[in-house]
Assembly symmetry: D2
Homo-oligomer: 304 residues x 4
């Protein structure tokens, strides 16, 4: 397939959609991003890279980071993890307390904020230097060294993160949090602050398209069966209360972040990443979703 | 792949799970089904059929019928349908009123009961003899003539269907129902009462694995793009509040019914159906899910 | 106290509030009422009557009728009634399904619609000609014969009452309704359609201010202890999700109806009724509440 | 009325109810209280005191303290307070997050935990030394000096108070909290830790039975109209999701605490306090409610 041509077409066709969404503005570091940014990168199982636009510019990956920590937790605990967090789509915004109360402190899935906090709580059972080890893991997956936390972002998020503080305290009251709340939040906000480019994101998730096997090193990141299941969770839960819409329109496992990034995985084919900071009212990138929809339409690649 | 051997293995391996679930008992016609029944059938794109156990015995397809009526509504209205019903997984049992109230009478998706009732309301705009036309459509898809409504089942369900009456009245109060309530319920309960065998079910959904094209006649049932989207909805919404678990464990689009049937679609490969009447507490067949999980494990076939 | 003067003052002081609310418009019979109507009547334990404005004009009493049927059910079942319906304020609109689902079909209290329907279901265990007997009971309490059902109102409400149909079907699915749904709804809509004047309403509830003893005949309607408890329920539940506000601002047991009527009881003192058809967004009469607030302020009469 | 005899009778008649409830056990200081304690005290407007049992033993007043801080907030802000907190019964447990999410961070009323935290946030606008001033206010009302915070209780509650931390963070995210979270929680847990006896409690709330006027000093604590409204809030909201039941069975404004205390006010008559540590599953004292029910039955005193 002529991915170069397809990316060029997409880049043209998404232009009219600029201005439909709004850049995240709850912290200055995100609010100040240029809304007209657009980048896209994909890497195939043959390790061919295709890219367009601002594909090498780093941005705040935010909730996309939840894929990495979930992956690390699956390495450590596999099925045991699912006693602490559910597997079901939430049908609610990412930070809802309601469901958590009805379900007695067990988050619906690992991609809503409450679930991601539990995943970190689980990781803290296993990691000595959690922040360093998470960053090392991401660098290893992306195959580059210069990936860093953005401390200013982490600090801003921490200072405004009252809903997350509410969620974690509530889960602690239900005994589904075992480590100190401050430590978990610290790891969480750092994880979310990681800055990466589309190229780095696409590379970092290629193992997910490759049944869990890292492409260059042939290193096994996840068992084949774990990789499939991670794809399934991304499909059903990767877009909060817009997961069904994304599965319907795009039809591939994916994960979004409020920095405007989206990653997607087409099993046995490729990994893909898009970035455009303007968000719809579900907190997902307007142009990112549109670009991926065009991509699956033009290529016919989809899991369905 | 040696599907015959694989079905035989599955049939052995599911034996220990008999007795874990409970046969639906809200109407006599379902309660009286032999709980030890087990049948399975699959049909490939080459039109090869494999089957085991009670694969030719007809049973009440119940909610599996929602796939057929949704398919007919997509033929008629395509995208316009989604103004009347949502696309998101519900995270709630199939008959919950709560979500419907918060969402002002717009059902979360077409596979919860409220959504299926709206789909029928939409169909009534287009069909002259809705019950006859639905039955004809199912017969055409299955490629056989002897598929019938079970009037006794339809009558029993009608008489005990107070929750559905609550749902439809509530949607009517929100002006999301336009035809007479009694007419819609009549079509709905007849649709659910259709009796089919695993072989018939597998045959009837092969077009879904074939990008919308009916296998024998080469007749187009849905546009390729509609067929993909229907698969996506089956994956995210086909199992009520167990959809995430099913996607995670089995990894294929599917739809279950309280008669104990489950259909599954592996795009570009095959359609499959299982039947075993004992249900878990989400209303899905215990052995049916187990059998499909074994099937995807043994064959490596999965969309992820 | 110079009630005549006080009523005259109130009638002046409420003038500026005309136009703040909206007349109920879900059925023509209510929508066509003159919004500028205002009447008020009070009757003391000494049987003195004071009145002003349109105090002799009959209007649709709507939910005020729930007091009468509850009273009849207490006569029949006393404490046993509370197994079928709760006693707690609902904190939700009068027709919410959500609470009913969480509480498995037991309505929160007898004054939300679901609760009133259960009360009628209970009454049907005891009454041979329920519609006739309810009307007789109301006439006896009011001390007049010319109180009637408004059949046109009952019919209109029936035809548009989809939410009530949803509620009763839902309770039936939880086995908290034992008589035929149509029969209960028929009694319910007739009860709500009763037309009475402020004078008749005030007279009819004087027994509630008199510890359950009917004033003229000295006939016991309720035991003293039942009368107190009925007052308590009126205070905590009489105004839907505005009950706290009414207790706070007015401070007497009361019950409102969407016809714009409100009745109030000051134990050991008097019964009072107001009518003004314009409603606030909780469905309670704007001028009615204002008038009662002024009344308790001017007289110092309040239960607190 | 022979209150001495009545208290003696009550003390006898409540004996069979020991053992029906459970002492609060979420912190050691409460868990270690002798479950067989029972005390009762009432003080009339003539300043006559009647008491029985452990009426002079101090216990943790817990949520009863919310009456004092609300009273201080009303002194400072009067009606303006109600922009920050509602007036409606909650129909939910005292620490529910669900309602708070639906109502965008505005607590339903000042007696659920979220509401009491907002009341303290409001007080912090006005008080220089909030903990000292609250204690002084309580001492002044009770007419004694030896009322203290129990620092061990405050510390334990703080350390286990994850639900309250969740509530306050959530309200902060909705901008309904303006002071530092830690400061508010510190004041809140100290306030709840105050230890008082039944005699002190009854004395401290006599002004509420006296239209806001402190009995000895003739000092005005609240305007008559504020006192009435505070009584109304106690009646509709003083017992969490058991408020309707308490109004129904007892029929007086009251407030309970998980220490097993209950205070009640009969306007123009008396203030009363009971203490018995065993709680029902709504968190209210079993014997306390029973004793007050017997009291209103025997005396005929009730607001209804």
């Amino acid at each position: 397939m002529d991915f170069e041509k397809i990316l060029a077409e997409i880049s043209d066709e998404i232009q009219p959609f600029f201005g439909e969404g709004k850049v995240a503005n709850y912290i200055p570091a995100l609010a100040n991003v240029d809304p007209r940014k657009f980048g896209m990168a994909l890497v195939t199982l043959d390790n061919e890279l295709f890219e367009i636009g601002d594909s090498r510019e780093k941005f705040s990956i935010q909730s996309i980071s939840k894929v990495y920590s979930l992956c690390m937790a699956l390495q450590q605990e596999d099925q045991a993890l699912w006693k602490r967090v559910g597997l079901e789509p939430s049908g609610n915004p990412f930070n809802s307390l309601v469901q958590l109360e009805y379900e007695k402190g067990i988050p619906r899935n690992p991609f809503i904020n409450a679930g991601a906090l539990v995943v970190i709580d689980v990781l803290l059972n296993h990691l000595k230097n959690p922040k360093a080890e998470i960053l090392d893991f991401v660098r290893m997956l992306a195959g580059v060294d210069d990936i860093y936390y953005d401390y200013a972002v982490a600090k801003s998020e921490r200072e405004t993160g009252f809903t997350n503080a509410a969620l974690i305290n509530f889960m602690r009251s239900h005994k589904n949090i075992h480590h100190p709340i401050d430590q978990i939040l610290d790891v969480y906000y750092h994880q979310c602050s990681i800055a990466m480019s589309c190229v780095e994101l696409a590379n970092s998730l290629l193992f997910q398209a490759n049944n869990g096997l890292e492409r260059g090193s042939k290193k096994r990141i996840l068992a084949a069966n774990q990789a499939k299941r991670l794809n399934a969770i991304m499909l059903t839960c990767g877009f909060y209360d817009e997961a069904g819409e994304f599965a319907f329109r795009v039809g591939v496992p994916g994960k979004s972040g409020v920095g405007g990034g989206i990653v997607g995985v087409i099993p046995n084919e490729l990994a893909i990443a898009v970035w455009s900071p303007e968000l719809n009212n579900h907190g997902n990138s307007v142009l990112g979703i549109k670009a991926l929809e065009l991509f699956t339409k033009k290529t016919g690649l989809s899991i369905f």
